[in-house]
Amino acid sequence: MGDSEGTRRSYLEIEAVDPSHGRRTTVIISHDRLQAVARRGTAHIHEAAYIVPEILQRPQAVFEGLCEDMDEDRRGVGWRCYCGIPSRAFSRDGSERPTYPGSVYLVFVNADRVAYNWRWEKADENAPDLPIGHETRFKRRLL
């Protein structure tokens, strides 16, 4: 991970797996985004600190693209969704707790390699490490 200061927009840089060749690549998260996440509370900034890197580096699946134009990131191709079940979750006070049964964690990365959003979603009952609707909401599965 690196850190950019003094540029037009500050960000943190973290490692992620590139599903196209399996090697490490880098993904960036803006300070603005982390600031906004911190406003949500302790659980959320802990998810950013611990769960987001885990999913980016050890995903169970990576999807690319969205199936509706309005969903697509305005910068077009290259949009990816990293998906997995992390090793832990966080309570409202930031303490560790077991993960939520029937849930998966998604990290969304745009074409500029910016991880711009992340969250829990309900898992597919028939594929518990994938989100509901994975067959239709993404253009292709890369990993």
């Binding site: 690196g2 300070h31 509370g41 959320h44 600190a49 580096q57 309005m70 969903d71 979750a89 829990w120």
Partner: protein, 139 residues
């Protein structure tokens, strides 16, 4: 830049971005995702897609709606601009009341009769919270 370990990353995030001492409802436009997020609680949540535009956030503890994500905001306003050209003038002031945004998102949908209840619930939450979002249509 030299990659940092996961533990260093976590330490960096937690030290630089301490959580707010007291939660207050808020909404924010994120240019990287071209989306608007709205929160009424600090609970951990899961996302539940309502349609291609809207995802609601439900508390992991109570399953109640505690927030939302409206995606493709630039596309939404482009679409609405064709039918409601006066809208741009209203938005360019910079601050949009969130209940108005949900109403616009509801209008923009192809099948407005579907899942109208969820939009109405969000409009009610936004009115209660009295939250606005700062954004520009220049994107």
């Amino acid at each position: 830049m030299t990659p940092m370990s996961d533990s260093q990353f976590a330490k960096e995030v937690l030290s630089r971005f301490p959580p707010a001492p007291e939660f207050k409802p808020f909404a924010i436009y994120d240019s990287d995702g071209d989306c608007i997020e709205f929160f009424t609680s600090g609970d951990s949540f899961y996302g539940e897609r309502v349609d291609d535009l809207l995802t609601v956030y439900r508390s992991q503890d109570t399953r109640e709606i505690i927030g939302s994500l409206v995606k493709g905001v630039s596309g939404l306003f482009r679409k609405l601009d064709k039918n409601l050209p006066g809208l741009r003038i209203e938005i360019e002031a910079g601050s949009v009341k969130l209940e108005h945004l949900f109403l616009l998102a509801q209008w923009a949908r192809e099948s407005p009769e579907i899942r109208t209840i969820t939009y109405k619930e969000l409009i009610g939450l936004a009115e209660e919270s009295n939250v606005s979002v700062e954004m520009s249509l220049s994107a």
